[in-house]
Amino acid sequence: MNRRDVLKSMAAGAAIGAAEAMFPGVFFVPAGGLSTAAAQTPAADGGLAWKKTPCRFCGVGCGLLVGISNGRAVAVKGDPASPVNRGLCCVKGYHSVMALYGKDRLTRALVRKDGKLVPVPMKEALDLVASKMAETIKTHGKDAVAMYGSGQWTIPDGYVASKFMKGGIGTNNLEGNARLCMASAVTGFMTSFGLDEPMGCYEDIDHADTFVLWGNNMAEMHPVLFSRLLERRLKNPDVKIIDLATRWTRTSMAADRSILFKPQTDLAIANAICHEIIRNDWVHTGFVRDHVSFHEGKTSIGYGLEDKFAFKDEPKTITLERYRELLADYSVEKVEALSGVPARELRYLASLYADPRRKVMSLWCMGFNQHTRGTWINNLVYNIHLLVGKIATPGNSPFSLTGQPSACGTVREVGTLTHRLPHGDVTDEKARKLAAEIWSVPVERIPAKPTYHTVEMFRAVDRGDIRFLWIQVTNPMVTMPKLRRYRDGLKKDDRFIVVSDVYPTPTTDVADVVLPAAMWIEREGMFGNSERRTQHFDRMLTPPGEAMSDTWQIIEVARRMGFEKLFPWSEATHIPEIWKEYSRFQHGPDHEMAPYEELKKRPGVMWPFVNGKETKWRYNGQYDPAAKGAFDFYGKPDHRAWIWFRPYEAPPEVPDAQYPFWLNTGRVLEHWHTGSMTRRVPILHQAVPAAYVELHPDDARRLGIGNGQRVRLVTRRGALVLPAQIDGRARPPEGQVFVPFFDEGLLINELTLDAYCPISGQPDYKKCAVKVERA
């Protein structure tokens, strides 16, 4: 195979990837010069240097091989050695390297002068950032400065940010945008198991025969994993895929059964399944007796709509009998009336979970997490698995999927959140002492009290409690709910906003300083994916112009502010040095990280990595070096997993006479979140060039709206005009509309509500009331 053949195979691979994404389950046979195998896995090097990396889009963590020629990334193929994707990519992955080469890459630092951003040398911009940060601390105190990063931060980025803010400056004003996508998953794990992240792994897909997708359009959001589900079904006709959702999507089309429910009633549905399991004596009594305890918490817990909202749960231990009584309101008949899901379907779901011959995976992502009761609904799906003892064994796996490449590895594991340290919470004296010891700082410097989660952080900027904000690798001026308030807040005269990014965005538009960032494989780093897999990538390319990695930007500013001793590393070796230091935090059988050398060699390593071995199933004594006995939920003091009674509670804003529709927002396959990278890839941009509003055809007919016609959406926060899409790639039920959020020209988050889960602080982007009219 020559070089041109490699390129032809890549082009074919891109088209096959696009087809697989558009038509889940499609497969190809050879019919001419190219064989399917050649198209999908171009094997020869064709003169290119191939290097491994995880994909920088989404949290699945597909392994890629990037072909480098003359200092440019010119080719991508799926890494056949990666156990995540086994050589397959989605359409974003196949085009990922094109995102490096947009014509308007930021290559020089910009500083706002007389209202305009003008280019300055990088050194001058870094000097200004450091001096403004120091000046703000001197004038307003250390809690007047903040950093906001993301799940696209590499692990070293997040680690130095945490060390700088918490160990250097001494403030907990550090957050990551994973608060907007994963926080409820974290609090779900913490409240049910005492430790974050899934007990299982993607290999569960190869063992399970029943997949229940809860509010999760996997065909578009996690297409490679979804293809693994479809492949599993192709090999085993007994496999069932159940799509439980509020809107009919490509996932529904490919599923064996599509069940639509009314927004927010997933809480009631999960309780109905538990009710049915108990009513039929389907409880795995031995597992529950030995490994589970029952609890209830506060109810009517609010929605965080007011500034400085605070909530603290008060868990109470209860008995199984009391739990059964509390579930009495959730008979399948009652829940049918609330959710719109027929009682027979609820019984069917319960029977699937309970059938001892079936192995069940539950999968979810934003539908659960972006929810004003996000923690509760995470708890509830664990309840189901725990009651029937289907957890932590191959194929029996409640599995929380992530949205960003290192939401787990960086934000959750390194802990770039106000309440976290690289190991443990800031409220825990032991965790503060460990951090102080590893960082060689006085323990008193690390504050014991969390400050602001993301929504409250942006409220604090608006109020003026925070005066300096440094944003890296994220685009909050597209993603914040109730956006207008927060944009106006950042634009206030005495706020100083620094943004590190690779392209101009609505967030760089409000910046006082813009720092050009090195992107993905233009620097060395690691990501951590949804299955506890840490994946290393080398620096393969030279960043354009003066672009610099986020890690090194932070180090440069920290050194200018007098924290040289915290960051003594050289530019050449700082990544392995950081990894070595960070790994000390996770030492021990429950979270041991792989050595740097192993990460360099392998297509990712799952933690805990003990004695050269990955841990595929946590809490199971057969696999987990930290577990004692058959099962050991050692994250909790009682070594039991906690079943929580969590009731159905309505969302804060529901459709009424004035705003009669539900507004749901989300993503599309072709675009990565706010589209700042994927919209610069011509093929992806052309596939979905602009946002739209999906309407049910009967609603459209009633309102006199045709496909492509302009529709005005109005909520209590704002209005937006978009083209209608009727029976496009998805169909919402009557009374609901859906708008993707990738389009910075059509900012749907000006209409959304900043209500959040009181336990996790994560906002609900899936439900608010909207008026729909022909424009």
Binding site: L7, F23, S69, V74, I683
Partner: protein, 83 residues
């Protein structure tokens, strides 16, 4: 000249005719979906004139319902095209 890949949708009932027609064109390779009326077409042309001729030939094929460009890769510049 660039290598390009397309998704091709045949007119109903004319998939085999389309495959045969594409295979008859110089510079075209075809991968057929087994369970959908869908083809992947990869084109490889040595110069602009051949590329233009191929584009015209593709546009004239009666069995094509629609043709969607997915990727274009230019070997000469060793980079993805931004077209």
């Amino acid at each position: 000249m660039p290598i390009k890949s397309y998704l091709a949708y045949p007119v109903r009932g004319q998939r085999e005719a389309l495959v045969a027609a594409l295979r008859g064109l110089g510079g075209c390779e075809v991968v057929v979906a087994a369970n959908r009326d869908l083809l992947v077409v990869v084109t490889d042309t040595p110069d602009e004139a051949t590329e233009d001729a191929l584009q015209e030939a593709l546009a004239r094929l009666p069995a094509i319902e629609s043709l969607a460009l997915v990727a274009g890769i230019s070997e000469g510049e060793a980079r993805y095209e931004s077209t």
